[in-house]
């Protein structure tokens, strides 16, 4: 066990990040368990502790009596410096044991710009960052989460990837581990056998050949018996899946410091830029009674004063109105707040939020994503200007005076008119405010526009499209700024080259792994944090690793090109993604699949049922 002295803790920011011992954390007898699993989140404590996936897997892994799952977060650079100075290896919060004593190190991949933290964490644990250099006795490094759908940039960092939802497959992998261990066999044999489990990808068992132009010629298993395709895992009976009845309650404040209850997985909207909307298909809901049961238990066991209903588009739950009203009534006496992230843009949603925010009217946030109808049709964001104006009108007449609108710039097929349209839309929202009688509307109108730079992601209809260049981004921002007229409108934007690197890594292949290793060696860490991100480090790393970033970020791919992630089957057919991209070019929309199946293939390919028993609201 590491002894982290008070001398050290008293010198760092927020020492409670490193001490563990929170209410509802698991303490197990190491002598009585077979498998030690370190769940690693490659970001700081307050971010990682807010992550629902970690809460779920921490719970399901610890529900196994033979397994002890502990938590590890990236130490903030002040702590890292002291740990390295004093020779303290990275440790898990529960036992304070260093990571090399664990059987598994499980990293969750939530965003590409956290990858250097993974390398840094392995290094802080005294392990080689490259899987090929680690020994048979070192822990098995496994990665999962949304970014694992393109695992290739980490192919020589991780020993194993889990593609899809983890609850069931983790159990299969742990059972197999015990089996192999009992036979006296090691990591190599384990990985070989794990390759037969659905959803599991063992990168060391595959190889790639490239064409002269740098595109992939062939991707293939190196030995027989290793599957050519990896099919993602889904939980078929989502309603009855075990959900945590307790969450850890941190002593210090975390980003999302509340109960979070999952209401459904997947999304039916089919926005063409959205990776989550494709990879999490099919939609599976929890029924209202189950959601309330989960909420009751979690509120009782945590003492939290707020519950947030989680999903990709919460207002699409088929019983949302009844659910929200039932919860508001049930928890009123205990002063429990209910929050709905991801509001849909329509008056129904505004009415709903009105019901649960009776007193304090914080700002409302909507994401029209694009400024003109043409552009919204291209990205298949099924929202009209009238939807937004209705929502704004309804919000202003019910006491809101601040509205935030989120947009993307650099979307495929975008023109300057589409950019100016963002300002125009903001102006029309301002207009709606002044249509509401003075005695009804609240003073102090603010319309906050904000833009982010579009990053094309694997498994979306835009996966073949180039990201726009930084100069174009700057030009677009200028167009938008000059188009804003009203003083009530404020505009905030990101102009950072982070999105370029995100684009390189998101659609990267195995060669991008060298870039990550090089960037890490040069000191890249916490790249998602502007105070630590260094573009210079990355530019040097690109140069020294001989990687052409533009090849990944700015190149338009042909439909017949072998993409690095093509060997993964998410259930949605590639032909469907092509068809969607073609429709985008013509600005033709594809309706929400609740209104009728759009034949993406997920129900057939995964032998699941979409949207069991639920209806459109």
């Amino acid at each position: 066990m590491n002894r982290i002295s008070d001398d050290i803790l008293s010198k760092v920011e927020k020492p409670a990040r490193y001490t563990g011992g929170e209410y509802n954390s698991y303490i197990k007898d190491k002598e009585k368990i077979d498998i030690r699993y370190a769940f690693c989140f490659p970001d700081v404590y307050e971010v990682g502790m807010s992550h629902l996936g970690m809460k779920i897997l921490y719970y399901t892994l610890n529900e196994r009596e033979d397994t002890y799952c502990e938590r590890v977060f990236t130490p903030w650079p002040d702590m890292e410096k002291l740990m390295r100075e004093k020779g303290i290896a990275l440790y898990a919060l529960e036992s304070k044991d260093p990571l090399d004593q664990f059987d598994f190190l499980g990293f969750t991949l939530q965003y590409e710009m956290s990858y250097t933290n993974i390398l840094n964490m392995l290094d802080m644990a005294g392990l080689q960052v490259r899987a090929s250099k680690r020994s048979e006795d070192d822990p098995i490094v496994v990665c999962g989460g949304p970014c694992a759908y393109n695992p290739e940039p980490l192919y020589d960092i991780a020993d194993m990837f889990v593609i899809g939802e983890g609850e069931e497959v983790n159990n299969e992998l742990l059972d197999l581990y015990k089996e192999v261990k009992a036979e006296g066999k090691g990591k190599t044999e384990y990985l070989r056998r794990a390759s037969g489990v659905q959803g599991v990808y063992i990168p060391s068992l595959y190889d790639v050949e490239y064409n002269e132009d740098g595109t992939i010629k062939r991707f293939f298993p190196k030995e027989s018996g290793v599957p050519e395709k990896i099919t993602k895992r889904i939980i078929k009976n989502f309603n009855d899946i075990e959900y945590p009845d307790k969450f850890i309650v941190p002593y210090n404040e975390i980003v999302h410091d509340r109960v979070v209850v999952e209401t459904f997985r997947g999304c039916t909207r089919g926005c063409r830029f959205c990776q989550a909307g494709m990879i999490y298909r099919p939609v599976r809901e929890k029924c209202t009674a189950k959601i309330i049961e989960n909420t009751d238990k979690l509120l009782n066991s945590t003492g939290y004063e707020e519950v947030s209903l989680s999903s990709l588009s919460i207002c699409d739950h088929s019983d949302i109105q009844n659910l929200v009203f039932s919860m508001a009534e049930r928890y009123e006496k205990d002063k429990i707040g209910i929050s709905l992230p991801s509001l849909r843009i329509d008056s129904f949603s505004v009415d709903l939020i009105k019901q649960i925010q009776k007193v304090r009217k914080t700002g409302l946030t909507f994401a029209p994503e694009a400024g003109t109808q043409r552009m919204r049709d291209i990205i298949n964001k099924g929202v009209t200007e009238e939807n937004l104006m209705e929502s704004a009108r309804s919000a202003f007449s019910s006491g809101w005076s601040t509205i935030k609108l989120y947009f993307m710039i650099g979307l495929p097929y975008e023109t300057d008119e589409d950019i100016a349209g963002i300002a125009d839309l903001g102006q029309k929202v301002v207009g709606e405010y002044f249509k509401v009688p003075k005695e009804v509307r609240k003073k102090g109108l603010r319309v906050n526009l904000s833009t982010s730079i579009f990053v094309p992601k694997p498994f979306t209809p835009f996966q073949w499209e180039p990201q726009i260049r930084m100069e174009e981004v700057e030009a677009k921002i200028r167009v938008l700024r000059s188009a804003i007229k009203s003083k009530a409108i404020s505009y905030s934007w990101h102009e950072t080259p982070v999105s370029y690197l995100e684009a390189v890594v998101a659609r990267g292949d195995r060669r991008v792994c060298d870039l990550l290793v090089k960037a890490f060696e040069k000191g890249a860490k916490f790249d998602g944090w502007s105070e630590y991100f260094s573009f210079d480090i990355w530019m040097e790393a690109l140069k020294e690793s001989g990687i052409d970033g533009d090849f990944y970020a700015h190149r338009k791919r042909e439909y017949d090109e072998i993409l690095p992630w093509d060997f993964i089957d998410i259930g949605v057919n590639k032909a469907y993604l092509i068809e969607e991209n073609e429709k985008a070019k013509k600005a033709v929309v594809t309706p929400d699949c609740r209104l009728g199946c759009t034949n993406c293939g997920v129900d057939i390919n995964l032998k699941g049922e979409c949207f069991e028993g639920a209806v459109s609201n």
């Binding site: 002295s5 001398d7 409670a16 209410y23 009782n300 945590t302 003492g303 939290y304 004063e305 304090r360």
Partner: protein, 235 residues
């Protein structure tokens, strides 16, 4: 009914700040299922008031808060309900009903406190001169030290705020037991006392964390210090 509750902030959570500790206690109370009282306003929270904030890094074997309940619950039941759901870093030691009488000033733990006892541990690189230096310090008539506050700096004599002080040396650790003024009338922070000792002795390990534990908080009853949980039973 209102309750005075004596609790510990264990060493393992010494780095948890005042607001986070408040939140932690509020969540513990919510979990307990006791009939807690909520504040009015936009953002209702559980009513409670902590007697005297602890600085980050300081832990305590005897801290207090007072909190109302909607109903009259047995003291032992309150203690049991809270300890059942207390986080590892907090233990409830004593629970007493506060018998507020009509037309009398409402008891507030914050206002009732006059003194607190602390144990301060300082690490030295070389403790050979320490006993002599400490004896000399205790002999001095005035303990002047530069006190920094939001309003500026000034030199103050803190000796009148120290009711008793004792020390022992265990290997290279100086252990100081002190009872000092605490509360809204006069207050001496243990950190300032520790600073005075550091300034008055040689070879202190500047790199070391100063370990400070609050042991108890007292009310002054005719010059006699009575622990708050005993004092509450007498009024």
């Amino acid at each position: 009914m209102r309750y005075l509750i004596k609790f510990t902030k264990e060493s393992e959570i010494k780095f948890v700040g005042h607001l986070d500790l408040m939140r932690t206690i509020q969540r513990m109370m919510k979990r307990s299922g006791l009939p807690v009282v909520y504040s009015q306003g936009f953002n209702p929270h559980i009513n409670l008031s902590l007697a005297q904030p602890l600085a980050v890094g300081v832990y305590s074997g005897g801290d207090y808060f007072d909190a109302p309940m909607e109903e009259d619950v047995e003291e032992s039941a309150v203690k049991e309900a809270m300890n059942r759901v207390a986080p590892p870093g907090i233990k409830i030691l004593e629970v007493s009903k506060i018998r507020d009488e009509e037309n009398k000033k409402v008891f507030k733990s914050m206002a009732a406190i006059d003194a607190a006892s602390y144990r301060i541990k300082l690490r030295y690189r070389d403790a050979s001169l320490l006993e002599k230096e400490m004896d000399a310090l205790l002999e001095k008539k005035e303990w002047t030290i530069l006190k920094k506050s939001k309003s500026g700096e000034k030199v103050v004599d803190i000796k009148p705020l120290v009711r008793s002080i004792d020390f022992r040396i265990v290997e290279n650790i100086l252990v100081v037991e002190a009872v000092v003024s605490c509360g809204s009338k006069d207050n001496l922070s243990p950190e300032l006392l520790a600073q005075l000792i550091k300034d008055s002795t040689s070879s202190v390990d500047e790199d070391a964390f100063i370990d400070i534990k609050r042991n108890e908080m007292y009310a002054d009853v005719d010059g006699k210090l009575v622990p708050l949980f005993k004092y509450i039973k007498t009024i």
